[in-house]
């Protein structure tokens, strides 16, 4: 019976190709526009680490100027990052199952001259927990071990791009590369499947792709490195030495902790609070006590990762789909009611109300599926167009499986909602009414 309904549906749709084209175009445009803008929003809002992101916590402390808030217009604001010395203190805690302070540094890579000229690289300075905490997959090797952090060893992890640029690809574990004036040994090459839409572990400096090189954080004082990203301060250093810089109130380090249970989360909050209160005794943290320990989703919303215009556009696009569906209702209503004689004959021949209803719903869903498929293809094209218009080195734009599912779901719902009323109207036609006139 279901196949029979589909066959009747197709026949009916072919009978009036212009109307059918209008119906399908209405759904296709609605799905195209809504899928495109929802996908755009989804890129920012998608959980980068499903099942884990709510166990990862980002720490912010208000060590700012007692006279003036971090953002002078908002007394509740606090710096986006923490100081080097506070990060060191937090790392002393054994409450988090994993933790890492981090920042971005810039260096020059000097590959074999046969492979290429020197080039600049962005390097994520971090601890070995970084790779397991953020579920980073490896193609060759792995992250470095605790010993490499402790020593610190001159080792690096690189991604596929850098592997290509530094070594021409292949298993480079064990090979060395000169960065600035030292040689570093590759211990791991990240798998090609790791392509987050943007750098989900760092929101300071916009939504940009992850770095290509990772290096033990503890090399920082050894190499006297500076951050290649933002660094905010309010107090002048004691003197111009690197040691003074590390001990200063300059905020330039990000810190993440993995806290799998509520107990650990509370314990860690207590730990951080005790630390800050203790520091107050030493004349630091002069502003009112303000600590933000936020999970990854909370942190993303605190940093307003989703641009407001993208949010607006996704809302507008859903309304757009509603307009398309209203159009569909009108057109289907006309189409079905023009079929009254046919339906009354079917009813007279014994089709039940439900059968008539079901037959028409199937026809609407056919329109929904065909229109939805076209809309999906159109939205892939539209997203590529948008990707071309956005500058490089920002988010990676595309449709993931989840969005394809959402798109198909939307088209089925649109087809169903638009078809319900017309189908109900047509199934209430009395069987004999029209036979008399014929």
């Amino acid at each position: 019976m279901f196949l029979y309904n589909i066959r009747i549906g197709i026949k009916s749709l072919r009978r009036n190709p212009i109307l059918t084209a209008l119906l399908i175009a209405a759904i296709a445009l609605g799905i195209c526009v809504s899928t495109t803008f929802i996908a755009l929003r989804h890129i920012y809002e998608a959980d980068p680490l499903p099942g884990k992101s709510d166990k990862l916590f980002y720490v912010r402390l208000d060590n700012w100027d007692p006279a003036r808030a971090y953002n002078a217009d908002d007394p509740k604001s606090l710096p986006n990052m923490i100081t080097y010395r506070d990060m060191r203190a937090l790392m002393q805690s054994n409450i988090p199952t994993r933790q890492s302070g981090m920042y971005v540094a810039g260096m020059f890579a000097h590959p074999d001259p046969k492979i290429g000229r020197p080039f600049g690289v962005r390097i994520r300075m971090c601890f070995n927990d970084f790779f397991t905490m953020f579920n980073i997959p490896f193609q060759y090797g792995s992250g470095w071990d605790k010993a490499a952090d402790a020593k610190p060893e001159q080792v690096i992890v690189i991604n596929q791009d850098q592997n290509q640029k530094m070594f021409g690809g292949g298993n480079s574990v064990g090979r060395t590369i000169r960065l600035d004036d030292r040689d570093y040994k590759v211990v791991g090459v990240i798998g090609a499947e790791w392509k987050p839409a943007f750098r989900f572990y760092d929101y300071n400096g916009g939504t940009v792709p992850p770095e290509g090189v990772f290096m033990p954080f503890n090399l920082t004082p050894v190499l006297q490195l500076n951050t290649a990203a933002n660094s905010d301060g309010w107090k002048n250093q004691a003197d111009n030495t690197y040691e003074s810089f590390l001990q200063s109130e300059q905020t330039w380090i990000e810190y993440w902790a993995e806290l799998p249970t509520p107990e650990k989360q509370q314990a860690f909050r207590d730990y951080v609070t005790n630390y800050v209160v203790d520091q107050k005794k030493h004349g630091r943290f002069e502003r009112p006590l303000h600590i933000e320990i936020t999970s990854m989703p909370q942190t993303m919303s605190a940093f307003q990762i989703v641009p407001p215009t993208v949010k607006s556009m996704s809302i507008v696009s859903l309304l757009f789909l509603i307009v398309c569906s209203l159009n569909l209702v009108g057109l289907l209503l006309g189409k079905f009611l023009a079929r009254v004689p046919e339906v009354s004959v079917r009813r007279a021949l014994g089709a039940s109300k439900f059968q008539v209803f079901w037959q028409h719903v199937v026809e609407c869903e056919l329109v929904g599926i065909i229109g939805g498929a076209i809309g999906l293809v159109l939205s892939i094209g539209t997203l590529q167009l948008i990707a071309k218009m956005t500058p490089q080195n920002t988010i990676t734009i595309g449709l993931d499986g989840e969005m394809v599912f959402v798109s198909i779901f939307l088209s089925l719902v649109a087809g169903l909602l638009a078809g319900l009323y017309p189908s109900w109207r047509v199934c209430t036609i009395a069987p004999a009414m029209q036979l008399k006139v014929q």
């Binding site: 217009d73 020059f108 002048n236 556009m313 809302i315 507008v316 159009n327 209702v329 009611l337 500058p391």
Partner: protein, 400 residues
């Protein structure tokens, strides 16, 4: 036109008219809010930097050669760069600075000023060479930097600065600020204002896009140097082509990048451009779809009412009467839809403003939207109404 019977008759086709009414209402809400978003984006893009953006290029040189640890070595290379770039045909001026117009960021600091009670935040950049020439900027008061403003001893701080007129007004009002003093937060290194830029804007968080302090000095170190170059109009391309070759000749131990300010600006506004294009496309497609919807639904109504139209014609209605009937019907429906649409427009705007940072809806936009959609409805009704008017009155005598 007899509105009473038309309205009474319309009650029996509630669904059809309700569909059009809601469609028009939502369309108005979307169109006006989308236009509002576009206007907000355009407003941001209308800002001017105060510089000769079109003719400014930038070049960066990041050293990898070990000799660049030596301060005197760096000094020599940068001075060589400045001379070499200045000698490129078509170059008007060049400066070594950390400033790049339309970068959407840069460097800033907290400062104090003589006679201003609070600390304040402002953008701050060093510059060496002909900064004003390289930007094509105009001075409102005072003078440009001279080579003497940069102390010979690299450890010594400069004593002067140039600020933007907006910063000057914030600190000291409309008065001429030449000779007044700005210091860092600790009160060290007082810097006397020697010049005021007529106009300055570089987008920056904390709303300090209008506030800047330039100081003469070494805006470069072992991590590299950055140059702003202003070319003769039309020479931008040839200068860009010559830049890297010129810099390699000065010192090859570095990696170079070259670009133009228009590119930087385009990149900075790419999000705005995207929103404008996307919303424009949405508006056009939506208005088109709504017109098609009205056309389709009205056409079906005409087809369904052929007999009725024939009867009316038989009873003496002229073609004009039939045309007027459908246009009146549409006018009523469109007007109700637009009325609801005005409410929906403000509801959606209220929602968007509360959720996000969109701007409030100006009333004239709603007016324009109403007129546009009203005309849209009229145009979409004319084809089916004309078809209705051409129904033969002889239809009335047919039985089925």
């Amino acid at each position: 036109m007899p509105i009473g019977p038309i309205v009474r008759a319309m009650k029996h086709n509630r669904t059809r008219f309700a569909l059009i009414i809601f469609e028009i209402a939502i369309t108005l809400a979307i169109v006006t809010n989308a236009v509002n978003m576009i206007l907000a984006q355009r407003e941001q893009m209308k800002k001017t930097s105060g510089f000769d953006d079109d003719n400014i290029l930038w070049a960066s040189a990041v050293p990898f050669a070990p000799e660049f640890k030596e301060q005197s070595y760096i000094e020599n290379v940068v001075m060589g760069d400045l001379r070499a770039i200045r000698a490129i045909p078509g170059v008007k001026a060049v400066a070594a600075t950390g400033f790049l117009p339309w970068q959407g960021g840069g460097s800033s600091g907290t400062m104090k000023a003589e006679g201003y009670p609070d600390k304040f935040q402002a953008q701050t950049y060093g510059a060496r060479g002909d900064l004003l020439g390289a930007l094509g900027a105009k001075l409102k008061y005072g003078r440009a930097f001279t080579e003497n403003d940069t102390p010979v001893d690299p450890n010594e701080s400069t004593k002067v600065c140039i600020i933007s007129s907006k910063l000057s007004e914030k600190l000291w009002g409309k008065a001429n600020p030449i000779g007044r003093v700005i210091t860092s937060t600790e009160g060290q290194t007082p810097r006397t204002v020697v010049g005021v830029l007529d106009e300055f804007y570089n987008p920056y968080s904390w709303n300090i896009g209008d506030y800047v302090r330039f100081t003469p000095g070494r805006a470069y170190d072992g991590t590299g140097s950055f140059y702003l170059i202003r070319s003769e109009p039309g020479a931008s391309k040839s200068v860009a082509d010559a830049l890297e070759k010129t810099l390699v000749k000065v010192n090859a131990g570095r990696v170079f990048r070259v670009g133009t300010v228009p590119q930087v600006k385009e990149r900075y506004f790419s999000g705005n451009t995207l929103v404008i294009r996307a919303m424009t496309a949405v508006i056009v497609v939506l208005v088109f779809i709504t017109a098609l919807g009205i056309l389709g639904i009205t056409s079906l109504a005409v087809a369904e009412r052929t007999k009725q139209i024939g009867t009316r014609r038989a009873l003496g209605a002229t073609k004009g009467d039939i045309l007027k009937h459908f246009l009146t019907e549409n006018w009523i429906v469109t007007s109700i839809g637009l009325f609801l649409g005005i409410i929906a427009t403000y509801a959606l705007n209220f929602f968007l403003v509360s959720q996000l940072t969109d701007t409030k809806m100006p009333w004239y936009l709603v007016g324009v939207g109403v007129v546009l959609l009203w005309l849209n409805g009229l145009v979409a009704t004319i084809p089916p109404a004309l078809r209705a008017a051409s129904v033969s009155p002889a239809i009335a005598t047919r039985t089925v």
